[in-house]
Amino acid sequence: GAGVSQSPSNKVTEKGKDVELRCDPISGHTALYWYRQSLGQGLEFLIYFQGNSAPDKSGLPSDRFSAERTGGSVSTLTIQRTQQEDSAVYLCASSQLIRDNQHFGDGTRLSIL
């Protein structure tokens, strides 16, 4: 069956540009999470969605970061005015119920020049 799908798999952009990362969770999974993995670091929690609402945005590093989820399915993470420190792998995960195992996508590798 289809797992969590993320696109693009790689994104290279210039500093100052906006980028949009997409996550398509497993069908029927109500919980969706975004994490970031910077070089040499563990995964860092960014934001959580339950349905279309985001009860916890505390992990978003700055106001340049925003995320939305529509139809209880696809989510987009937007980074405005990108900076070099935004370079990382952005991972999305989904779970059917809150305490279920989180299933991860392959991630989007973002490189800011």
């Binding site: 563990g42 860092e44 959580y48 339950q50 009860p55 809150i98």
Partner: protein, 111 residues
Amino acid sequence: AQRVTQPEKLLSVFKGAPVELKCNYSYSGSPELFWYVQYSRQRLQLLLRHISRESIKGFTADLNKGETSFHLKKPFAQEEDSAMYYCALSLFSGGYNKLIFGAGTRLAVHP
């Protein structure tokens, strides 16, 4: 503050040797801990969680609340165990499951 520490970035062993990947956590509540694994060119996947008390692919992990540790062990390493291993702490509060990850340990098993 909640934290997960994996002190080794790289653990290199020979096939058949015992393996112990260390994980320590800092959390004032009742911890729920996980080990995730990422094989080369594959996505991150759950290996085991402490509440299941399972042995997956020969790996086990015991929660030691006194030492705040959740070390991952395998008595005889195999080459196919070579991967990146992440320990994670679940903060189930506010009605959702927020995972705090360690920095990861790369396990290299040599023939």
